[in-house]
């Protein structure tokens, strides 16, 4: 198919043609070089609508429709990359010329794994047309349902719908395309002295129950309106899915990232029981309802594998560069433009247990139930020792029951130690997509009950 790129690019077929066009342009320049010329190309269309509300009204309402291309070339193993939203015919030719010229000036890249070879994804992405076409009015209607669930409270948050269409092509013959959608609602209700949150994410906008989310956030806010201060120290905790998702993001970035491992910065000891036997975490793009494409940023089909198999650290996330370095196989977890960062799993699933989440407090004499963490940052990557705060609902547990709210607390804790063998009291049956501070649609997590969590400061310091 020949497509003039001065016409609008909207469909998956258009994007595949765009990717093919760039590969053809690179191939046509090959004779200008003495060495082998290779290329990986990704063409992406992103359509995103986001409705933000604060003080119980919609104050910002945004829409974006962007087409972009990503090109990585190698000239005799000398590499260079480029990204651009400029896709007219002459602009594509210029992009290819400048990227090839840049590559030719580089030293040989010892970790260039070659252009991506052909491999067919074994499953399709999850895409919902209705979500992709969601209108501002549809989003506003759901926001209204969230806001009106707490008429005496101040609501804030966002509801967004995102659709991505991606086509990949390489000079080595890989050619694949896919699409995915996501809809998320993340909001709080505030009383003036407290806040409560709720989060929902799905492939389909129709799955979101904004009224229920609003009711949950409002209930948490009201229950927190009167709170006490508690002395910092070590307490048993029940962590809600959002808090668990934050932990899993940190374990993924600092531990399961093969580049971090190869550089000595990871905690991972493959085959070792580093976690409690109740902890079971997978990279699982095949999980029902999972959001994402069937291939990664390098065009490699994504795979399903255990990161933590009943407490045993089992695998690392590889892209093709780290796989080359480690003499391993890529797991299909390359991230866009992240050669210097490495790979990370983006369909993280912690399997839920059989304990109803509300019963995780059972047996805790005096502890805390944490809805959400805030502003977590790592202090020591090898032990994933991190500091952060609690937010949007921190409750006191006494004799197995939630008895009231406490003010937000600062913690300083090793995530590796906190989830270590013998330290997990229970796993909830409430696994769902949770927004772990660093974005929606990446982690499915349940609630967790832990023996101890180290709080190092309260509201007064």
């Amino acid at each position: 198919m020949t497509l003039s790129m001065t016409t609008a690019v909207t469909s998956l077929e258009d994007l595949q043609a765009l990717a093919d066009r760039l590969v053809a342009l690179v191939a046509a320049r090959a004779e200008d070089h003495d060495a082998e010329v290779e290329a990986n190309v990704r063409a992406t269309r992103t359509r995103h609508g986001l409705t933000r509300f604060a003080n119980s009204f919609i104050h910002q309402h945004v829409g974006e429709d962007t087409v972009s291309v990503s090109l990585t070339v190698a000239v005799g193993g000398r590499t260079s990359s480029a990204n651009s939203t400029r896709i007219a015919d002459d602009e594509l030719s210029q992009l290819v010329d400048t990227t090839l010229a840049s590559a030719a000036l580089q030293p040989v890249d010892p970790l260039w794994p070659g252009a991506t070879p052909p491999a067919e994804p074994t499953f399709t992405g999850t895409h919902d047309d209705t979500t992709a076409d969601a209108t501002p009015d549809e989003r506003a209607a759901l926001v209204e349902a969230f806001v009106t669930a707490g008429p005496e409270l101040k609501a804030a948050g966002y509801l967004d719908t995102e659709a991505s269409w991606v086509a990949f092509a390489s000079t080595a013959g890989q050619r694949t395309a896919g699409a995915t959608t996501r809809a998320s609602l993340d909001g709080i209700h505030q009383t003036g002295s407290s806040a409560g949150s709720a989060h929902q994410t799905s492939v389909r906008l129709a799955d979101l129950d904004a009224a229920a989310a609003g009711a949950l956030a409002a209930d948490r806010a009201r229950r927190s309106a009167s709170f006490t201060d508690i002395q910092p120290g070590a307490y048993p905790v029940v962590l809600g899915p959002e808090a668990v998702a934050t932990i899993l993001m940190f374990l993924s970035v600092y531990g399961f990232n093969a580049k971090s491992f190869l550089e000595g910065g990871s905690f991972a000891e493959l085959g070792e029981q580093q976690f409690d036997g109740l902890i079971d975490v997978w990279q699982d793009p095949t999980h029902p309802g999972t959001i994402g494409l069937p291939f990664d940023a390098e065009g490699t089909p994504r795979t399903r594998y255990a990161l933590i198999d009943r407490g045993v650290t089992s695998a690392l996330a590889h892209d093709r560069r780290t796989a080359t370095r480690a003499d391993a196989t890529t797991t299909g977890d390359a991230l866009p433009g992240a050669a210097s960062f490495g790979a990370a799993p983006t369909n993280v699933v912690m399997h839920g247990g059989d304990t109803p989440a509300a019963q995780l407090t059972a047996g805790i004499e005096r502890g805390l139930w944490i809805t959400q963490f805030h502003y977590v940052r790592v202090l020591e990557p090898k032990t994933v020792t991190s500091t952060g705060l609690t937010r949007n609902g921190t409750f006191l547990i006494e004799d197995g029951e939630v008895v009231g709210a406490v003010s937000n607390l600062r913690f300083t804790e090793s995530f590796l130690h906190a989830l270590g063998p013998g330290r997990v009291r229970g796993v909830g049956d409430d696994a769902r997509y949770a927004d772990g501070e660093f974005g929606a649609g990446v982690v499915i997590a349940p609630s967790l009950a832990l023996e101890s969590w180290n709080f190092t400061g309260g509201a007064k310091g």
């Binding site: 829409g63 974006e64 000036l105 101040k154 804030a156 502003y375 090793s414 180290n454 400061g457």
Partner: protein, 486 residues
């Protein structure tokens, strides 16, 4: 950059016309073409060279209490006009959940141009020269025994913006930004230790390649790497309440987190409550609240030559300016845009910017920093009985009201009786914002005052990455809790 000026203004004008025709009471549009080049090397090998270019038009339409924003990467008049209509339709949809009407503070409708002063265009410097800087710096660091990972990066942005508003603005700006950074990581049994230069995450200025030459990464590589290795065998930072002496780049981040975000008017008004958070500051305290000691004088100054947040106009067409934020310890000013300023009854500060054509402008820090004092690091150490000098940020965390913070630094030196007695590792300190700033009793100035650039400030939904500047000099804070451990 050679883009046809009239054509870009035409696209922006078409977007504004599209929004007005659909019923917007006010509209503005930005055509943005942004080039970005980044090089990263590791252990003496070039790891990544990336050239990015994004171009498109973003249009903002106001109806009632809500902004609608739409953008497209298709740079044609038809697409721009369609984006304008979409922005208005989006704003109209917000009427389902309405608030009080939003109005804009007055600013002059300017037709003007601004270009960042620079000596050497970073995009015309031969790539070989740039590669040599990062490769040689990382090779030197990696050759130091004990260094496991050495990385270095150069980063450049060249951004053209054509801004048009329905009130008559017509402004072209070209902003050129240049930055660099490197770090060495030494790995021990259960720890990693890192040293960075000139600061963690790199330092960026407005200006050209002369910035890279001035910071001379290869010339500082060996010393940077040696400190990383020394940290593995250094003593742990003591725990307790001690005097803390912060070097200027760490103090810059302290300002960013505990002042810069707290004074954002959109946060104070609750517009960012769900994600970034609110602020411990309330507008009725403006002019009376004690933020810190009398040594504390903070301005937000978008006119400092070379500083990262220096420009001609913000993304609403408001002129760059210097605004007093804290005067002799009293809170007196905020960071604002035209809408938030009108709501608060304050003059607009020209502090609204967007991360590219496809993001809606929002309140952003300009160069928020401390005015210099009259002491020096040497004098401050000499006057300290027991404390810790801490340098170069390693971790940062602060609550959603910008009150309760904890910072970690890469390196520290314990001070006893006026002398640095030993290097210490894993230095951390924690505190409550006004109490901490109230404890500042010594502040350096002169050559030690420097406008640091932070290129990675996240805010907003969808997330936007902002570039902010923070002038600072070394300072001492009395009786601060240090050495917090897990």
């Amino acid at each position: 950059m050679g883009e046809p000026q009239h054509e870009m203004f035409d696209h922006a004008t078409a977007a504004v016309e599209g929004a007005l025709a659909a019923g917007a009471s006010y509209a503005d549009a930005r055509v943005v073409i942004r080039r970005h080049e980044a090089l990263q090397a590791q252990n003496g090998e070039l790891e990544q060279v990336t050239h990015d270019e994004d171009a498109g038009v973003g249009v903002r339409a106001l109806i009632g209490s809500s902004w609608g924003f739409a953008s497209t990467s298709e740079l044609t008049e038809v697409a721009a006009k369609r984006a304008g209509a979409e922005a208005t339709a989006t704003a109209k949809a917000s009427a389902r959940v309405p608030g009080s009407g939003l109005h804009l503070a007055d600013v002059p409708a300017v037709q003007d141009a601004y270009i960042t002063p620079f000596t050497e265009d970073p995009f015309t410097v031969p790539l070989d020269d740039k590669v040599e800087v990062v490769v040689s710096a990382t090779r030197t660091m990696h050759e130091v025994e004990g260094v496991m990972v050495a990385t270095a990066q150069l980063m450049f942005w060249d951004t053209d913006k054509w801004f048009v508003s329905s009130q008559g603005h017509r402004i072209h700006q070209r902003i050129v930004e240049t930055g660099c950074g490197m770090d060495a990581t030494a790995v021990g049994e259960q720890e990693t230790q890192r040293r960075s230069y000139p600061q963690s995450f790199g330092h960026v200025e407005t200006g050209g390649y002369e910035v890279i030459r001035r910071f001379d990464l290869p010339g500082h590589a060996a010393a940077t790497a040696e400190e990383a290795v020394q940290l593995l065998t250094a003593a742990d930072c003591p725990s307790g309440e001690l005097d803390v002496i912060l070097e200027s780049s760490q103090l810059a981040l302290q300002i960013h987190e505990s002042v810069g975000h707290a004074i954002e008017l959109d946060r104070i008004l609750g517009w960012e409550a769900a994600f970034a958070g609110t602020s411990f500051l309330e507008l009725d305290q403006l002019g009376t609240l004690r933020y810190g000691s009398e040594l504390m004088n903070i301005t937000a100054d978008a006119t400092i030559p070379g500083a990262l947040s220096t420009f001609g106009y913000d993304d609403e067409g408001t002129p760059a300016q210097c605004v007093d934020i804290v005067r002799e310890g009293t809170w007196v000013g905020v960071l604002s845009g035209r809408d938030s300023a009108h709501l608060a009854g304050l003059p607009p500060g020209g502090m609204v910017r967007a991360d590219g054509f496809n993001r809606m402008p929002m309140v952003r820090m300009t160069n928020v920093g401390l005015l210099p004092g009259d002491s020096s690091m040497e004098e401050i150490v000499a006057e300290t009985k027991h404390g810790v000098v801490m340098a170069t940020n390693r971790s940062w965390s602060i609550d959603d009201k910008r009150l309760n913070f904890q910072f970690g630094c890469e390196i520290g030196w314990e001070v006893k009786d006026g002398k640095r007695v030993r290097m210490v590792k894993n230095p951390t300190y924690t505190g409550i914002t006004p109490r901490f700033w109230g404890a500042m009793d010594r502040l350096a100035g002169g050559d030690e005052w420097f406008a640091w650039g932070v290129p990675n400030c996240g805010k907003g939904q969808p997330m936007q990455v902002g570039h902010t500047g923070h002038p600072a000099a070394p300072a001492r804070f009395r009786d601060i809790r240090v050495g917090v451990k897990a």
